[in-house]
């Protein structure tokens, strides 16, 4: 009888050890990540490359344009780079420069022809929100023309489009029916300051 009890206890103990071992093994398997699962904490992003572009903003006194060196994201190719530069120009300018392009104006399209004419298609805000006046309109138009022609090699002339259409003018004065060349008579001739 005593011998029977001992055999029973030994069998029970063996079964308990077996159950514990199976449970531990299953838990271990559940904790181990699969090779295809994403990392729990992603690595820091690689730093974005930039170029230094010369953008033309309104000078503090509103009389002329002022060239300012600004960091803009690097892009592959002249057309993509042109888009980045125009998008940067459409942002509010850094102090103390004043905006000569109506707030809210967005870039709809940008392309360059084989003859070196760049086409900049802007949203209708550039017309609808323009304050008017020949002087202000000249600054608006040539901020864009000078910026593109200065930064993109091979671009000689810039044609403005509004909402995908050819336009007579931006605010009734400056003739934008044809591509325009760069005009540096509207630019204050000082070394361009750099802005980060």
């Amino acid at each position: 009888m005593k011998r029977t009890v001992l055999f029973g206890l030994a069998g029970f103990t063996a079964l308990a050890l077996l159950a514990w071992g199976v449970d531990f093994g299953l838990q271990y398997l559940a904790r181990t990540p699969s090779p295809d699962a994403p990392a729990a904490s992603p690595p820091p992003p690689a730093p974005t490359a930039h170029i230094t572009a010369t953008l033309f903003y309104g000078a503090r006194d509103g009389m002329l344009l002022q060239p300012v060196r600004v960091e803009v994201p690097l892009a592959e190719g002249a057309v993509a780079q042109g888009r980045q530069i125009v998008r940067a120009l459409l942002q509010p300018p850094p102090a103390p420069y004043v905006s000569v392009i109506p707030a809210g104006t967005t870039l709809k399209a940008f392309y360059v022809t084989s003859s070196g004419d760049a086409f900049v298609d802007l949203s209708a805000d550039i017309t609808a929100k323009h304050p008017g006046g020949t002087h202000a309109e000249l600054l608006t138009v040539y901020a864009i023309v000078n910026t593109i022609a200065t930064n993109l090699q091979g671009v000689q002339r810039v044609q403005l489009l509004v909402n995908g259409q050819e336009a007579d003018s931006v605010a009734g004065h400056v003739d934008v029916r044809r591509p325009l060349e760069r005009d540096m008579t509207l630019v204050r001739q000082e070394p361009p300051p750099a802005v980060q």
């Binding site: 009389m63 304050p131 008017g132 202000a136 003018s169 009734g172 004065h173």
Partner: protein, 489 residues
């Protein structure tokens, strides 16, 4: 019968007791607004003007006092005229008059001398009365004295017209007359000394012209002008028939060739008031709209150019409506304009920015090519009756290409005329590709008269003085352009 006699006696007594009032020829009032008549009345041999008529030129208010006198207020300053006294107190200062102010027919009358002597002390504008020519000058107007002398010169006749102080002179010679046009608002024309059978008449015409009528017997005519510090002189030599003109000019002054305006010269000026209708243009700091300023200045300019130069002035709009650029261009080209001035106001993101600027067309490569091709592709077409006529073809939307040099000259003349009168930007003349100028077949400029976004400039532009200065400057530029053009335009 007895009643009739009594009535007659009473009427005679009444007539002798009343001061005798007559109406001489009116005085000509010359101001920046133009020339207008001012009626006068003779009372006891003294010439009077009604003060309520004067208030049309010089704003004033009247208030009668209990003693029978009157107080006249001008710009916050008061002139007190006591009853029956030939003097007035002007802001505390006593001024003698040839006669007292009087009340007649419900109106207050003042001796004409009251205007320069008393009103002139409190008025903002200068007041000058020229009794001989019956001219009342208000403000900074140019009214030179013109004396004319006719005398024999050899077998011919010499007419000398002296203009003091010196002013711009343009002489036009026709078959039956010589017209001397002066750059002035009016002239103070003295009686002519001398006479000649070659001359039918010499008269001074409004606004500033001297006309010398030529008899059919008059021979060749040669006119020359010269200037001294004190006077401009026009010498007109008229030969006897079939004789060469006497080339000796008036003694003491070198003769200069006269600028003769041919009949095909400056005849039509087109003024283009910018914007209009829904297109309001720039909105000023105080709410002034560009479309209003441009139209008001254009209307005033039209009056001045027509009155002083005798040219036809066409406005591209004379009402508050939107006019597309091509319609403005077409209006000017169809009117065969000799000159085009577009009027605008500026805006700036900086409220401190001020100054006017004159733009003329800048040609890009395409425009330059168009200009060269226009000359190279000129066609000589046969015309009816023999001969040929040269036709230059040019793209309609680049017609301005042929006139860019003249337009630049006009822009520089306007910038010069602005100096000292109208504030300008550091670069008062600029070339730019402007939409409204591109298709114009005549010398053309776009004048931005100032920045409405600057509060001071908005106030100045909407004020009478500022507008007068703008109109005067444009008039001066147009006049100089016409005078300087070789053979006139």
């Amino acid at each position: 019968m007895r009643a009739l006699a009594v009535t007659t006696v009473l009427l005679a007594l009444l007539l002798t007791a009343l001061p005798l009032a007559q109406s001489p020829a009116p005085i000509s009032v010359v101001s920046a607004a133009g020339r207008r008549a001012l009626s006068t009345a003779l009372v006891n041999d003294q010439e009077y003007v009604a003060l309520d008529d004067v208030s049309a030129f010089i704003p004033l208010t009247l208030r009668e006092d209990r003693q029978g006198g009157v107080s006249i207020t001008v710009r916050g300053k008061t002139i007190v005229a006591p009853r029956d006294r030939a003097l007035v107190s002007v802001d505390g200062r006593v001024v003698a008059l040839p006669a007292p102010l009087i009340r007649m027919g419900g109106r207050w009358l003042a001796p004409v001398d009251f205007l320069p002597r008393a009103l002139g002390l409190v008025s903002e504008a200068r007041i000058e009365y020229r009794r001989g020519s019956r001219l009342l000058l208000i403000g900074a107007v140019r009214v030179p004295r013109v004396t004319t002398r006719v005398e024999p010169a050899g077998t011919g006749t010499r007419v000398t017209v002296e203009v003091a102080p010196p002013t711009g002179v343009m002489t036009v010679t026709d078959a039956d007359k010589v017209v001397v046009r002066l750059d002035a608002e009016a002239i103070d024309f003295a009686p002519v000394a001398g006479a000649s059978p070659a001359i039918t008449q010499i008269r001074g015409d409004a606004p500033a012209t001297v006309t010398v009528g030529l008899a059919p017997s008059a021979g060749d005519v040669r006119a020359s002008t010269s200037n001294t510090d004190t006077a401009a002189r026009v010498v007109i030599e008229i030969t006897a028939p079939s004789q060469a003109p006497d080339t000796s000019a008036a003694p003491g002054t070198p003769a200069a060739p006269v600028l003769v305006l041919p009949k095909g010269g400056l005849q039509t000026v087109v003024i283009d008031p910018g914007h209009g209708g829904d297109d309001t243009g720039v909105r000023g700091a105080g709410g002034t709209l560009e479309k209003q300023v441009t139209l008001e200045v254009a209307r005033r300019l039209k009056t001045v150019l027509e009155a002083r130069m005798g040219v036809r002035v066409v406005l591209t709009r004379d009402e508050d409506r939107a006019v597309p650029p091509d319609e403005r261009t077409a209006t000017a080209n169809n009117a065969k304009g000799d000159l085009f001035v577009s009027l605008h106001m500026s805006s700036s993101p900086s409220p401190a920015t001020t100054g006017g600027v004159v733009y003329f067309m800048r040609l890009d490569r395409e425009g330059e090519d168009t200009r060269r091709q226009a000359g190279a592709q000129a066609l000589a077409l046969p015309v009816l009756g023999g001969g040929s006529r040269v036709i230059e073809t040019i793209r309609w939307d680049l017609a301005q290409a042929r006139h860019v040099e003249d337009s630049g000259r006009l822009a520089n003349l306007l910038a010069s005329a602005l100096e000292g009168h109208v504030p300008t930007m550091p670069q008062p003349v600029q070339a730019a590709p402007l939409r409204v100028l591109a298709g114009l077949n005549m010398p053309a400029v776009l004048f931005e008269m100032g920045f409405l976004t600057n509060a001071d400039q908005e106030k100045r532009t909407t004020g009478d003085e500022g507008r007068t200065a703008l109109v005067q400057a444009i008039y001066d530029a147009v006049n100089r352009f016409a005078l300087a053009a070789p053979g006139g335009r």
